[in-house]
């Protein structure tokens, strides 16, 4: 087995058993990146350059990684205890601050920003011995579901078919893991930004309970929705990484003090006795018809539906009880409410990027303070941040906020009630992750409304704050990965991971499990 194909658990075991050094593991991954990643994204880069490469990275921090790998090897040589992620290469979505490292949010406005501090989740991984390979690409400020909106081009491509998007906004994370550039990546999920790209790229992606993982150092999008979480190729690796990054943080008041269970130890306990619900509202999508302006409903494609039903059958065979027709009546309002809430928070969160303290500042045509603000923001924000600022400012204006923002908050509590009522009856919900598999690059981009509907089955979990996971569940007719989603009540990550692991075991011998992205080295 090639070193870059090892899982995180295998890597730490081999390093601790002195079968391989952390530096050898690092070198194998750097070679893989060299072979398949191609040009990193850069400002004003050519979006069509090297169309068969992955382009996951914005900033590769090879030297920093080497120092970390050597530190692990030296610790081992000195007979010291190694952390649970010792020697495991990790990529970090470039929305997290890492000290002395460019932290760009894939935006021109932060292109020159070196963070003066490190995000809690990254700090915890580093303390656990992880080797941080660098920062991977995303939609600008995480605003998107395809990565095409990144100011750093070329944007990531789907390793399974590089003419397609990797999903987003954690597209660089999912692509880097699917392309075997790293076994783990740290992403963020505001409406599905971990789960959707995980589904598109055929990897595991978990959005933990809101507050389970500290947001300190995560450049905020929708502060009441954002969740850092793991992406990996196996369920066990996500459990291992979540274990490391979860827990209370004195620097984040919304990070909860609920104890963190031993997710890895719980993994193999199976699904016997678990009640797993299927909801009709998750087998359809409601979308805005661009011509008529009406909300239309259509069923998800059969391949998605069948993957969920197949999974349900396998879990039932392992002792789970399947409960059908669990009502989730407000699911269709998830996206409209999200449009409002996330944009109000985003517009406010973007206020600090004003050219005064850090980041881009316009140079030409400045006559006064106001023109400095205007030119800076006009020149350095891409279309997605601008759209969010416009809508966020509009719906939070005093005369509209009752009509939009406060109404959206009421919808949000109804969505939460759907989950509370469902989880009074079942332990988990099992659903498709996305209504489609990865779409072609350029296929949806420009229609930010339709793009958003790709998150329809994931966003309710963000509104409600509950945890969810997307795990690979086969390939569609085009050979593209599809994902299924488990959703559970607050702090049920252990149960979600158990069920996911059970499904992984149940499908171990399926041929799609052996399939890998065919990337030219």
């Amino acid at each position: 087995m090639k070193l870059h194909e090892l899982t995180a658990l295998e890597i730490t075991q081999k390093i601790k058993a002195r079968q391989v050094s952390a530096e050898e593991v690092l070198d194998a991954h750097l070679r893989r990146i060299e072979a398949v990643d191609g040009l990193p994204g850069r400002l004003d880069g050519d979006s069509s350059a090297e169309p068969s490469k992955v382009h996951a990275f914005i900033t590769l921090t090879a030297e920093r990684a080497r120092a970390q790998a050597r530190a692990v090897d030296e610790k081992l040589a000195a007979g010291q205890d190694l952390g649970p992620l010792a020697g495991v290469p990790v990529t970090v979505k470039d929305i997290f601050c890492v000290e002395d490292t460019p932290s760009t949010a894939a935006s021109k406005i932060l292109a020159n920003f070196n963070a003066p501090y490190t995000a809690t989740a990254v700090e915890r991984m580093e303390a656990a011995g992880a080797v941080i390979l660098g920062k991977v690409n995303l939609d600008e400020f995480t605003y998107g579901s395809s990565n095409e909106s990144s100011a750093f081009q070329p944007a990531p491509r789907n390793p399974w078919d590089t003419s397609r998007v990797p999903g987003g906004s954690s597209g660089g994370s999912a692509a880097s893991v699917a392309a075997y550039e790293a076994p783990l990546s740290l992403g963020t999920d505001t409406a599905g930004s971990i789960r959707q790209p995980a589904a598109f790229c055929g990897v595991v992606g978990m959005k933990p309970t809101y507050g389970r993982v500290s947001r300190y150092g995560l450049i905020a999008f929708g502060s009441s929705l954002d969740c850092p979480g793991p992406l990996s190729r196996t369920v066990a690796d996500s459990a291992l990484m979540l274990q490391t990054i979860a827990g209370a943080d004195p620097r984040d008041a919304t990070a909860v003090t609920v104890p963190v269970p031993d997710y890895v130890a719980e993994l193999e306990k199976g699904v016997r006795g678990l009640k797993i619900g299927l909801s009709p509202e998750y087998f359809q999508i409601t979308y805005l018809d661009a011509v008529t302006g009406k909300l239309e409903t259509q069923p998800v494609p059969d391949v998605m539906k069948n993957a969920v039903l197949d999974a349900a059958q396998r879990l039932a065979a392992m002792g789970a009880e399947i409960v059908e027709n669990v009502p989730m009546p407000h699911t269709r309002y998830g996206i409209p409410a999200y449009f409002v809430i996330s944009r109000v928070e985003a517009a406010s969160n973007l206020h600090r990027f004003d050219g005064v303290k850090y980041g881009y500042r316009a140079q030409a045509g400045i006559t006064d303070l106001r023109s400095m603000y205007r030119r800076t923001r006009a020149e350095a924000f891409g279309p997605q941040p601008k759209l969010r600022i416009l809508m966020g400012m509009y719906v939070s204006a005093a005369q509209y906020s009752e009509q939009y923002y406060n109404r959206a908050l009421r919808v949000r509590s109804l969505l939460r009630r759907d989950f509370d009522e469902a989880f009074a009856k079942v332990d988990l919900l099992l659903t498709p992750t996305t209504p489609t598999s990865a779409f072609p690059i350029g296929g949806l981009y420009g229609d930010s409304v339709l793009m958003q509907y790709a998150d329809q089955l994931t966003v309710p979990g963000n509104h409600a704050g509950v945890p969810g996971i997307s795990i690979p569940a086969g390939l569609d007719a085009d050979g593209l990965p599809i994902g299924i989603q488990f959703l559970g009540p607050d702090f049920s990550e252990d149960i979600i991971l158990r069920a996911s692991r059970a499904y992984e075991v149940a499908t171990e011998s399926e041929s799609w499990r052996q399939a890998k992205p065919a990337l030219a080295e």
Partner: protein, 485 residues
């Protein structure tokens, strides 16, 4: 036409916490260079989050209770969005519709004047909430270019914003409000309330209306007044201006005015356009503030009697004049000192008050200490007054004893003992000295006996000199009168 003045005051009170409201930076930067008490959180770096300093809530609750306001069990933080270079996040974390306190009032005792008798003005509180301060911007011109220098030290310093209803009716009442507020803030220990250091900032909304009217006319807002005297002067000026405008048939426009301390005049800063829309919404990065009964009880444990209540009690219970009561309750440490002293003394409170106002106050002014910090404890003071009352020492010795006790920290008894300060009132000792004086000064005795009775003072003076000033003068006089008969 006779006009009534209508004033509302908006105050910003800097709480005296050790650290800022949402990070661990030092809160007070009065003596520090610009941008030295800052961190990623208070400078609004990407990705940082606020964490609430609980002491800020505690001090806010103390103030709310002192202002007779209700404290709801839950309050929230909100974002107030606007752009300004010294507001690093582009929004201020404040409280909007569900703030720490609701309602409240303060009763101002207005002293009698030549025209009016004393009265009490009740000022209702419209709004009381906690928030973070912004930084400071300094504009300067360099080589023809203007530039702004920003000091972020003040970003995140905890403030209480407190706004009154338009209940004040004169510049004197406005000044009295600030005086009483400053006294209260120091009394309950939530702010140093030093206006020169901007711990207490005040904007005044001023309008006038015909006496008897129940509507409010257009008001102007006076900013940048940083002393109580300046508030009084600025309001007085503005009321005169408004009267003159109406008299000339003009209207008052909704201006923002700035007080210029040097020229003692008001300058127009800007015409108020439509109200800015701050797009308030709940701060998602902070949890609601749950003020449980237990926490509130903990905060209010040891809550002091407030200055105005204590002032009233000093008048009613101790029979002190208003003047004495006012000064004795001007500052909490002094009023506690007074109460401890009269408890130890047991005599006439007015007598203790005289000692305090005349002599102890002088020690305080000279030393810059608070009453509680004096080595002259209330018990020692009481002892000294008693020594004088009992005729053991005379008044002058008592006064110098105050300073000796305060310098050394030794008890008055000890000092009287070791320095032999006690008055000699023993008849035989006095008589012996008096007899020798009479024997040694036949000429003076002769003069006295022939009618120069004014020489009595000379005889007593001789005795005093010989006895080091410790003699009981009336007794000595009686003995001389007897010997010289």
């Amino acid at each position: 036409m006779d006009y009534e003045v209508v004033i509302g005051l908006e105050t910003h009170i800097q709480l005296n916490t050790q650290t800022k409201i949402f990070c661990a930076c030092k809160a007070d930067s009065w003596n520090d260079a610009p941008n030295t008490n800052i961190c990623p959180v208070c400078t609004g770096m990407p990705g940082v989050l606020p964490v609430l300093n609980r002491t800020v809530v505690e001090k806010g609750v103390l103030l709310a209770v002192a202002m007779n306001a209700d404290t709801p069990p839950v309050s929230y933080f909100d974002r107030k969005n606007y752009f300004y270079p010294d507001l690093p996040k582009g929004f201020q974390i404040s409280q909007f519709d569900c703030s720490l306190a609701k309602g409240g009032w303060l009763d101002l005792p207005m002293p009698a004047t030549d025209k009016d008798p004393a009265y009490v003005r009740r000022v209702r509180i419209h709004k009381l909430h906690i928030e973070e301060d912004a930084g400071k911007t300094k504009n300067e011109s360099v080589g023809g270019y203007s530039r702004r220098l920003i000091d972020f030290n003040r970003c995140g310093v905890p403030l209480v914003e407190m706004v009154t209803e338009p209940d004040l009716r004169s510049a004197d009442e406005a000044a009295q409000y600030l005086t009483r507020l400053r006294q209260l803030l120091r009394w309950i220990g939530v702010s140093e309330a030093d206006m020169e250091k901007a711990h207490l900032r005040c904007d005044a909304n001023v309008s006038i209306r015909p006496v008897g009217a129940d509507y409010l006319n257009t008001k102007t807002e006076i900013k940048n007044v940083n002393s109580i005297e300046a508030v009084r002067a600025a309001i007085t000026k503005e009321v005169e201006r408004q009267k003159a405008e109406y008299a000339a048939g003009r209207k008052i426009e909704s201006w923002t005015l700035e007080w210029d301390e040097d020229s003692q005049s008001l300058k127009k800063m800007r015409s108020k356009e439509t109200e800015a829309d701050y797009r308030y919404f709940r701060e998602p990065d902070l949890l609601p503030v749950y003020l449980s009964d237990a926490w509130k009880a903990e905060i209010l444990a040891g809550f002091p009697e407030l200055p105005l209540a204590r002032r009233a009690r000093f008048i009613s219970a101790y029979g002190l004049p208003e003047y004495d009561a006012d000064i004795l309750t001007g500052e909490r440490s002094l009023s506690d000192y007074f109460e401890q002293a009269i408890a130890a003394y047991g005599g006439d409170p007015k007598r203790a008050s005289n000692w305090l106002l005349n002599d102890v106050m002088r020690l305080l002014n000279e030393s810059g200490l608070t009453a509680g910090e004096l080595k002259l404890t209330p018990a020692y003071l009481a002892k000294i007054i008693k020594l004088v009352d009992d005729g053991i020492i005379n008044t002058n010795t008592g006064k110098s004893l105050l300073e000796k006790v305060n310098r050394s920290g030794q008890s008055p008894d000890e000092i009287v003992e070791t320095e032999g300060l006690a008055k000699v009132s023993d008849d035989s000792a006095l008589r012996a000295v008096a007899e020798s004086i009479v024997a040694e000064n036949p000429k003076e005795v002769e003069s006295y006996k022939s009618g120069k009775v004014g020489l009595m003072g000379w005889f007593v003076g001789q005795l005093m000199r010989q006895m080091g000033g410790k003699a009981d003068a009336p007794k000595a006089r009686a003995i001389f009168e007897e010997l010289l008969q």
